[in-house]
């Protein structure tokens, strides 16, 4: 399966860096899209098929946690794989994100951590649809 990936981060440099890490990860990637906040990300997801979202938390307009809440409430998009890529270290917040079905990678991260997080999510999705 080749993934369409959406990188959501308010810093364009970080989007570029995460996109390069995706490329270095060895994952099969079809196309990488970018969005600067949660609103842009939802708009992109309603016009493009996205398999995997790599999501920052601290963003203007709509932060990552708000985005994830809206995503999970949208029946068409709710089962999309999401990995939070953040400096966040607060265990209560990380627990909330994981309860919403998201994987978590702490910045800075190595490409192999991304692969492991995707594999973990896929393993939890056995028999599931997008």
């Amino acid at each position: 399966m080749a993934f369409n990936v959406l990188v959501v981060d308010d810093n364009r440099m970080m989007r570029s860096m995460v996109a390069r890490a995706v490329g270095m990860s060895g994952l099969s990637i079809s196309k990488t899209y970018e969005a600067g906040d949660g609103v842009q990300a939802l708009k992109a997801m309603r016009s493009q098929w996205i398999d995997l979202v790599l999501l920052d938390i601290n963003m203007p307009v709509m932060n990552g946690e708000e985005f994830l809440t809206q995503l999970r409430a949208d029946t068409a998009l709710s089962k999309t794989l999401v990995i939070v890529v953040s400096t966040e270290s607060s265990q209560p917040r990380i627990t909330r994100l994981k309860e919403m079905g998201a994987g978590f990678i702490h910045k800075p991260f190595r490409p192999e951590e991304l692969v492991n997080a995707v594999n973990d999510l896929m393993a939890g999705k056995v028999g599931g649809d997008k």
Partner: protein, 160 residues
């Protein structure tokens, strides 16, 4: 938190986020900083503080070049250098706070903001030497961090 622990956090971020090459504590202070970035934070019980990150010319250019994946000899633009510094500062701040205060409480980081470069000062100032240049970081907390330390009950030996 000891200066050594701070330096270890900064070195980890520099190496793994920006692909810089840390060499240990800087042996001198740069004549001037190329960019300086402030990240303010709010924590439990209304505690707050700020972390200032400064990069000299070499560190600033290398951070931007590495994050952008530029080829050797290509020089990043001024806006690219600032954007890269902002992200480096954001990640340094996000990694320092749990080491300072533990993982059990939520901290909100404000977006990084550029500041006019000035000499760093504060209770904790550390300088990391890099093969490419120097990163300086100063850490400020309100009221000597007494509210936050009371709120998160960090063991005395780990307090900043």
């Amino acid at each position: 938190m000891s200066d050594e622990a701070c330096l270890a956090v900064i070195a980890n971020v520099a190496e793994n986020l920006a692909f810089l090459m840390p060499t240990g504590p800087a042996e001198s202070t740069p004549d001037s900083w190329r960019i300086q970035i402030e990240v303010q934070w709010v924590g439990p019980d209304g505690s707050r503080g700020r972390i200032m990150v400064a990069l000299d010319q070499g560190a600033a250019e290398a951070t931007a070049a590495n994050l952008l994946g530029l080829m050797p000899g290509e020089v990043p633009s001024g806006p690219d250098i600032q954007d890269a510094g902002n992200e480096l500062a954001n990640v340094i701040a996000g990694n320092l706070l749990p080491v300072l205060y533990g993982n059990d409480h939520e901290f909100h980081l404000n977006p990084p903001e550029a500041r006019a470069p000035t000499p760093l000062y504060g209770r904790t100032v550390v300088m990391l030497g890099l093969w490419e240049g120097i990163i300086g970081v100063s850490i400020y907390g309100d009221a000597d961090n007494t509210r936050i330390l009371k709120a998160v009950q960090v063991p005395r030996e780990l307090r900043a």
